[in-house]
Every structure is written in C-alpha cells, then in structure tokens.
C-alpha cells in the first residue's frame, strides 16, 4: 500500500510538473553562500550545538556541519540557520 502511494506521488510529480518538495515531503533548502541556510519541511530538532545541527525529516535526517551555528528563527516546519556552514549531509532510513 505504501509502495503504491509513493509510486503515485512520483508519477504526479513527473506528469503534473509539481514541485517535488510539495509532493514528496522532502525538505526544501535555500542557502545564501555559506552564511545562511533556510530549511523548510523539517520534523523537529534532534541535536543542536554550535558545530552541528541535526534535523529530523519525514524519512531520514539532515546533518549540517559548520561553526558558530545559531538558529535565528524556528517554526514548526521551518528553520533559519546562520553561521559558517561547512557541509550538508542526508541520512536516509
């Protein structure tokens, strides 16, 4: 059943030309250089320090590495992160 649902979503994204983040429940990330990062569609903060931010996604995790990280603003589905961002990594489950 779940596999059917996922296939249908992929199909919709391809055929109807919808933005993938809307259909597939994946995060949409906007970065301004290495200074600022805007993440939509997250599911909560797992870990936060000034070197690492670990966010929960619908299926998996997002790990942001950097230095002097500060969460400038946070809403239930959005995060605005500032600092010197060194790397972004996805872990899929």
């Amino acid at each position: 059943m779940k596999r059917w649902s996922r296939r249908l979503r992929h199909l919709a994204a391809g055929v109807l030309d919808l933005p993938q983040d809307v259909v597939l429940e994946v995060p949409r990330i906007t970065m301004i250089g290495h200074l600022q990062m805007y993440i939509e569609n997250h599911r909560g903060v797992l870990h936060f320090s000034d070197k690492e931010l670990r966010l929960l996604l619908t299926n998996g995790q997002l790990i942001v590495n950097g230095e002097q990280l500060v969460i400038r603003a946070i809403l239930p589905e959005e995060v605005l992160l500032e600092g010197r961002i060194a790397g972004v990594r996805f872990i899929e489950q």
Partner: protein, 407 residues
C-alpha cells in the same frame, strides 16, 4: 519570519537553559506555537535562546517535563523600559520636561526679519508689527491668521503698497513692497551758463534764461552764454539758466608713431614654481634648480591656511612664468600716418568730452626722423561748451562778453 517591532513592544527575555534535553524543549515549545529565536549553544549542557515574555510564563510545564532549568540573562523591550522609568521618576520627568521645553520654545517667535524695506525705516515696521503681536518671545499660537495680520500692518504703514507676513519656524518674515514715490524734482539755484573754452558758437538751444550770444560769434573762456538774469530795468528776476550751447573749438595735436614696432608674444612655454610661505619667508619647493626664461611674464597665486577671517601665516605660493619672445614689425609711412591720425582723433575726443564730433581735420605738418613719424594735426570739434556759474551777488558782475552782446 521575525517581527522586530512585535518583539520590542511585547518585551522579550534571553534565557539560559541548563539541561540535557534542550532540543526536546525547543521542539515542544515550537509545536506549542511559542515565538523563539536566536538559539545558541553556550556549552554542551547549556543553551540560550530569546523568547517573548508572554511565552516565557507558559514555558514552566515544558521545563518540568524535560527536566531543564532556566534563568533569565537579559530583559529587553518596552515593558521593561516602563518598569525602569517607574523606578526613576526624576529621569522620566526630565525627559518629559525636555520635550515639553523643546515644543514650547519652538512655538515662540524668536526673531522678526524685515525684507524689502528701503525707504521705510525698519524701526517703524518693527513697532507696527509689535503692536499687533509680532515680536520676539511672542507665542505663535496667539497670533491671528497671517492674511489678517497683513491687512492690519498695511493699514498701519501707509507707505507700503503690500506687506506679506510669513511664519517660518521660529522666525517671522515681514516682506514689504514700497510704494513707488516719484523723485522730487531737482532744485537749481540761480545761475549763468558760461563758456568753458575759447570757441565759435555753432548752435544755441536755451531752455531757461536769456541768451546773450549769437551764432558764429567768438566767445572767450568764462564769457556768459545764457544769463540767469531775466527781465530788464526794475523788473528783474533770477532763474537757473538751462540749455545747451555748442561751439566750434580748435585743437592742435602732436603725435609721434615709431616705424618699427616691437611686440611680445607668448611662445607657449611655461614653468610653474611652488613655494612654501611661512610668515614673510618663502621657501622654494619645486623646481629645485629653476632655469628662468630670457623674457617672461609672471603670475602668482597665494593661498593661506585658515578658516573664515582667521588666517595662519602659513601657506603656499604658485608662480607661473610664461615665456615671451620679441617680434619686430616694420610699418610703412602711410600706415604710420593713418595710425597717428587715429591716435590723434581719439586724443581730441577725450579732451572734448563725450558728445563731441569732429567737424574738420587738417594735417599741418609731417616729419620723419629717427625712425619715427611726427604728425601735427589741426581739429575743429563741435562740442558742448557750457559751464555753470552760480549767481552770488545781485546784480551779477558785468562781464566783457555779455556787454558786447547786449549792444
């Protein structure tokens, strides 16, 4: 995402949260709809974040659930300001009084400026203005409409044809347009018109007085032309003689013109020299070893340090030397004579006055000597020869010319 104005008006606090489950606290707070920003890590065990005062009071159950402890680090925003103001009433009153004073002082008239009054004395206008309330230290609020003030002022100052009143900040500007007064006619005292040069009368145009000479008559210097005494016998009166008498005056002018002319013209070469001025001394800065031109013209610019009228005895000087070269030009005899005549004419007209005209020109004598042309020219010039002579005694002293013309 953030609303700084809201943060400030509602007040916000920076809290330091100590506990292992800091992330969980934030997740729960965000899910509850709290307004949280600027989340930082201070140490692995302690985090810091900003939160609205309103949400701070709702944070307690979440803290208990996650086992965190929090303390307030900094308070900011309007509510805290108000508290601080209540704690320091003197300070608050001072601020309030400051703004009140500023407002009061700006609603006073500080100065009255009068523009456009040339013949009407400024004191008169100031007095009139202060009677209807326009004076320094008067309240602007108490004044009536400027248009009404204008009318009142105009009624008080009859010499003005229009008066405008304008309040510009703390300055009242009274603009005056004066009535155009006709100029009073010039008064002349009784006088004669006499000849200022030896001449032959060419034309007489008398406006007032008695003409005592005739056309083509020879007059001497000082001779009366138009007499200020009119009437005869017992019925005599004195007037200011007016009129114009043109006479033919003879001049002989001697001019010499060299046959070779030396002219200096710029070669285009120039040299700038810069010096530092200290008091009366000038210290040459550039060039170190000047090489002057053989012939040059020279201009100088001085600039001193200082501000306004104050001037330091320190400055710098820029001299510019423009190289010139000599050019010799030869003139023919005809050219030289023509030039001499031009010079002579110019000379004569300068002597004869503005409205003179040359009637006749005659070259008396031409001589060439030592590379120069000497010319002697005779001119007959028609010019105004009148001069005023006030009548002091009555009857005027009889003059030789006047006697002859009466006969």
């Amino acid at each position: 995402m953030r609303n700084v104005l809201k943060e400030w008006t509602e007040g916000h606090v920076t809290i330091a949260v100590r506990g292992k489950r800091f992330e969980r606290l934030i997740n729960m707070a965000v899910r509850e709809g709290f307004y949280i920003w600027n989340i930082r890590r201070r140490s692995p065990e302690e985090g810091e974040c900003d939160i609205l005062v309103r949400d701070y009071f709702r944070l307690r159950p979440l803290l208990r659930e996650t086992g965190c402890r929090c303390r307030v680090v900094r308070r900011e925003g309007m509510p805290f300001w108000l508290i601080r103001m209540r704690l320091r009433p003197g300070f608050t009153i001072g601020i309030f009084l400051f703004f009140l004073g500023l407002y009061m002082l700006s609603s006073l008239i500080w100065s009255v400026e009068i523009v456009g009054a040339r013949n009407i004395p400024a004191e008169e206008l100031q007095q009139a203005a202060s009677k209807i309330g326009i004076k320094p230290w008067a309240w602007k609020v108490k004044l009536k409409e400027p248009q009404y003030l204008q009318q009142q002022l105009l009624a008080m100052v009859p010499d003005a044809s229009w008066i405008g009143v304008e309040l510009k900040g703390t300055k009242a500007i009274i603009q005056v347009v004066e009535k155009e007064q006709p100029e009073p006619p010039k008064m002349y005292s009784p006088r004669h018109l006499i000849a200022k040069k030896k001449a032959v009368i060419h034309r007489i145009q008398a406006e007032a007085g008695k003409t005592v000479v005739k056309v083509n008559q020879f007059v001497d210097k000082g001779q009366v032309l138009i007499s200020g005494v009119i009437g005869s016998g017992g019925r005599q009166a004195l007037v200011a003689a007016r009129g114009r008498v043109e006479g033919e005056v003879w001049y002989v002018v001697n001019v010499s013109v060299p046959l070779t002319q030396t002219r200096y013209s710029y070669t285009g070469e120039q040299q700038s020299r810069y010096s530092l001025l200290a008091g009366e001394y000038a210290i040459r800065l550039w060039p170190l070893r000047p090489e002057p031109f053989e012939r040059f013209k020279h201009s100088e610019e001085r600039a001193y340090l200082g501000y306004g009228d104050f001037r330091l005895p320190l400055g710098w000087k820029k001299e510019t030397l423009y190289a010139v070269e000599e050019q010799k030009q030869k003139r023919s005899r005809e050219e030289a004579i023509a030039l001499a005549k031009r010079i002579a004419q110019h000379d004569v007209l300068k002597k004869a006055g503005e409205d003179a005209r040359i009637k006749d020109e005659k070259v008396l004598h031409t001589k060439e000597e030592d590379g120069k042309v000497y010319l002697s020219v005779h001119y007959a010039v028609i010019e105004d020869i009148t001069e005023e002579q006030p009548i002091v005694t009555l009857p005027p002293a009889p003059q030789p010319g006047a006697d002859t013309s009466d006969q």
